[in-house]
Every structure is written in structure tokens, then in C-alpha cells.
């Protein structure tokens, strides 16, 4: 999901860099209030995330997935520290391994280091408030948060690419969203598995981070950030929707004229017409179904991991 250099135009680069700077500044201010003991932990946690990203999780036919880690960092460190740690990861990847562009750093930080941990922490806190503090509830919350954060980060990345004019909004939304709904499932399961290990061996590591109350002012600041982020997400809808309709209309006209020459343009034609008529409804339905499925998967895995009999069997 790292955007390389050369894809985004100046407008997108500047706006994402500005948003990322503001978000990172807020997070840094927040982290300065933490006890000094936590500072080395953030640096080492960044190194941990990078290292954990190297672990392979075999999927099928020789391919394997790996962790992204934004949700894991968010759950283990709390939102502000996770933002700083993930930013450090991206900075190092960009400057040392040329992975992820240097001008696109703002966009990458915004997607993977700010939006992803914030979404993860928000969903995690919400689900835990409803489901309780048991091991199963914690794992369920973390897994679902990981899925949501992966999807939202991917959609934000797709939005930036669409705004930059590289891709078309509707198709990129479907492509990135669809793929990352699956990737998110892997991320959710890996996050839950790792978290279960940490909670079982050192539960206090988790509690230090997650029970710290967030100050009201920081909460308000994050709400404003979220609103700006949402606006950035929604603005292109407003601007690209007429474009999309125009394009479909063009295709209608074109297809009408071409119909005489080609015997059967219909299949192609029907699909574009359908997608043009109900793009948002289908996207929303797909998102809701995906979220339900992800929640169900997270629930089953959490139940399996939290079952008391399993640990005894596994530790033998």
C-alpha cells in the first residue's frame, strides 16, 4: 500500500503532507506528556513492527502474506505512540530501503501511520466498550479493528490516487476495496494471534497502554482531524461523480453509434450502465457485507483463541 514517488500530483502531495504534519504534530505533543520511560519503547516498538512485517504467513500456492502492524501498534501502544512509531517505520523504509516515495511520504504517513492506527484504536475502544474486557472480547475488538483499519487505509490511498488523476475513482475504489477486504482478514487473524500470545504471557503490557484515559482536548483535536480526513475522502466523490456520469453518457453515445458496426456490444454496455446507475449503493452494500463477514471471522477466531482448553493442549 506504500505509494511510490511519481504517482501523486503536486496538489495531492501538498494537501496530504499538510494533513500528515498536523496529525503527527498532535501525536508528538501527546507523546511528550507520556512518562519518559515510554520514549525508548516507542523507538523499539517501531523496530518491532518493522521486524514483524518480515514474518511470512503462508496463504496458498506458495504465496504468503505479512503483517502491516498499524492496528497491532495502536492496540499495544495507544494511538499517539502508535502514530509516532508507524511514522518512524515509514521514514526508515523510505530513506533506507527506498520503499515508499519520499515526496509521497506525507500520503503514506497519512494513510498507514495516522488514519490506520486512529481507526484501529477507535474501533477497538468502541467494540470493547460494548463487548467487555474479557480475553475473547479484546481479541475480537482487535481483530475487527485491524480489518477496518486496513480497509480504510486502502480506501484513503485509492482516494489520493483518484484525486491525482492516475486512476478512475469508481474502479479504483472497487479494486483496492475488494483486495484489501481480503488482505484485512489476514491482518485481523495475524493481529489476534500475536495479541493472544502477548496477553497470555504479559497481560500488563497491554493494560499500561489501553487504560490510559485520553484527554478531552486531544479527543477534540482528533475529531477535527477525522472530520478533515472525511472531507478529503468525500470531496472527490462530489467532484468525480459528474465525471463518472459524463463518462457513462459518453459511452452510451459512443456505444449507440458503435452498435451498428459491432454485432454484440451489450455485455460490456450493461455492466457499465449498471455500475453507473448505482455506484454508491453497491459500494455501501459490499462494504456492509464485508464488515459483517470480517466481524464473524474475528468472532470465531477470538472464541477459538480464548477457549480455555486450547492453551493446555497447545502448551504440551
Amino acid at each position: 500500500m506504500h505509494v511510490p514517488d511519481g504517482f501523486l500530483d503536486l496538489r495531492t502531495l501538498a494537501s496530504t503532507a499538510a494533513l500528515a504534519t498536523v496529525g503527527l504534530g498532535l501525536a508528538l505533543r501527546e507523546v511528550r506528556r507520556l512518562p519518559a520511560r515510554r520514549v525508548p519503547m516507542i523507538g523499539l516498538a517501531a523496530a518491532f513492527v518493522f521486524t514483524a512485517q518480515m514474518l511470512n504467513f503462508p496463504v496458498a500456492a506458495g504465496t504468503s502474506g505479512h503483517l502491516i502492524g498499524a492496528a497491532l501498534a495502536g492496540v499495544l501502544l495507544g494511538p499517539a505512540a502508535a502514530i509516532v512509531a508507524m511514522t518512524a517505520v515509514l521514514l526508515l523504509q523510505s530513506l533506507m530501503f527506498a520503499d515508499g516515495g519520499i515526496t509521497a511520504l506525507g500520503a503514506n504517513v497519512l494513510n498507514l501511520a495516522i488514519i490506520a492506527p486512529l481507526v484501529a484504536c477507535g474501533i477497538y475502544a468502541c467494540v470493547r466498550r460494548v463487548a467487555g474486557d474479557s480475553l475473547q472480547a479484546t481479541l475480537l475488538a482487535a481483530g475487527f479493528a485491524a480489518w477496518c483499519s486496513t480497509l480504510v487505509a486502502a480506501l484513503s490511498c485509492a482516494t489520493q490516487l483518484a484525486v491525482a488523476g492516475v486512476v478512475e475513482w469508481g474502479t479504483v475504489l472497487a479494486a483496492m476495496g475488494g483486495v484489501h477486504m481480503l488482505i484485512g482478514l489476514g491482518e485481523a487473524v495475524i493481529t489476534m494471534l500475536i495479541l493472544a500470545v502477548v496477553i497470555r504471557s504479559r497481560p500488563e503490557l497491554l493494560d499500561v497502554a489501553s487504560t490510559r484515559p485520553v484527554p478531552h482536548r486531544a479527543r477534540a483535536a482528533y475529531a477535527v482531524m477525522a472530520a478533515i480526513g472525511l472531507m478529503v475522502l468525500i470531496a472527490p466523490l462530489a467532484s468525480s461523480l459528474p465525471d463518472g456520469l459524463e463518462h457513462v453518457a459518453e459511452q452510451f453515445g459512443f456505444a449507440g453509434r458503435a452498435a451498428a458496426a459491432h454485432p454484440a456490444p451489450l455485455p460490456d454496455y450493461a455492466v457499465t450502465a449498471l455500475a453507473g446507475d448505482w455506484p454508491w449503493l453497491s459500494a455501501v452494500v459490499a462494504g456492509a457485507v464485508g464488515a459483517l463477514l470480517a466481524f464473524a471471522v474475528a468472532w470465531f477466531v477470538a472464541r477459538a483463541l480464548a477457549a480455555p482448553g486450547r492453551t493446555a493442549a497447545r502448551q504440551q
Partner: protein, 189 residues
């Protein structure tokens, strides 16, 4: 070129990348000029061209993956090719920079250009302990492999997660020790 100040090299790389980013999508002659310039620079730096190309090839799949999205739109081929050329040039520029500059020098530049100290400290600590953790993970993986004889997918996922979870526990213990060591040497937040 290895001896040039890191700040100058970083600034030049960023300027070069910005130039490529800002070039219009049809400016193919300009792409050629930038590419030729980069090759000349690489020769001047006496860098191992084969190794540079290898690193470029390793990073290229990510670029192609994103560029492929451009093909989904009608008339996407010119956009696809332009994106591919642009980001490959930027990537080549960054690969050349990282091949001729030590990361600690780049960190020193970040200090000087007033990137918030907390962030630079975090990146510096991360850089310092990254290879320690990678080695530690390698040891844990080796230990796990030598003790596991069943290799089905479930146990592979469990095993990797076990390694990552234990690595986090050890990392946080190490962070405590690092903090005490930093304090003992007079570190002030």
C-alpha cells in the same frame, strides 16, 4: 560522491524527484535526460551498477502493482507508461542516494533541519535496534523450526504469531533496560 555532505545529496535527490513528479505525463524526452543523468551520476559514484539494478528490480513490483490500477480506466495505457517511467526514475534516484549515503548521516541531516527531536530519537532508536531485533527473530525462528516437525498452514501461522508475540515481550523488556541505560548516561527527555 560517497564523501559529499549527506544534506546536499538528500536535497539534490528530493529536488530531482520533485522535478520528475512535476513533469507532465507526456514529457518523454525529459525522462530520458533525467535517466541519462542518473546513469552518469551512478558511474561517477563508482557504484556497482548491477547491484543498483537488482535493488531497483526488487522494488519494481510494488510500482507496477499500483500502476496497473491506471489500466482499469479507459485510455489508461499512456497514463500507465508515464506512471511507470516516473516512479522508476524516482526509485532509481532514491536507490542511488541510499547506496551512496549512510543512514546515520541522513539522520544527522534530519536533526539539523529541525525535524521534531522526539521523532528523530524514535527513528534513531529504531535504526539502532532494528538489526538486533531481526537477529533475535532469526534465532527464535530457527529454534522453532528445529523443534517443529509438522508443517501445516495452521501451525505455521500459530508459530509465526508465537515468535512475533514473544518478540514484542522481549522488545518491551529491552526497552526498559535501554531506558535505564540512557538515564545512566545522562539522557534528558
Amino acid at each position: 560522491m560517497h564523501r559529499l555532505p549527506a544534506g546536499a545529496k538528500l536535497a539534490a535527490a528530493v529536488a530531482c524527484i520533485l522535478l520528475v513528479v512535476l513533469l507532465p505525463r507526456t514529457a518523454w524526452p525529459a525522462y530520458g535526460i533525467v535517466a541519462a543523468g542518473l546513469v552518469v551520476l551512478a558511474r561517477l559514484a563508482a557504484a556497482d551498477l548491477r547491484q543498483l539494478l537488482l535493488r531497483l528490480l526488487l522494488l519494481e513490483p510494488f510500482v507496477i502493482g499500483i500502476a496497473l490500477l491506471a489500466l482499469l480506466r479507459p485510455g489508461g495505457w499512456p497514463v500507465f507508461l508515464a506512471m511507470l517511467a516516473k516512479s522508476t526514475l524516482c526509485l532509481a534516484c532514491m536507490v542511488l542516494l541510499t547506496a551512496t549515503t549512510r543512514f546515520s548521516d541522513l539522520l544527522a541531516v534530519l536533526w539539523r533541519v529541525r525535524v521534531p527531536a522526539l521523532l528523530v530519537t524514535t527513528v534513531a532508536l529504531m535504526h539502532r535496534y532494528l538489526f538486533v531485533l531481526v537477529e533475535e527473530m532469526g534465532r527464535m525462528n530457527r529454534a522453532r523450526r528445529s523443534r517443529t516437525f509438522v508443517r501445516d498452514r495452521t501451525s505455521a501461522w500459530r508459530g509465526s504469531a508465537q515468535v512475533a508475540g514473544q518478540l514484542f515481550v522481549r522488545t518491551s523488556e529491552r526497552a526498559e533496560r535501554v531506558y535505564l541505560a540512557m538515564c545512566a548516561r545522562g539522557w534528558k527527555n
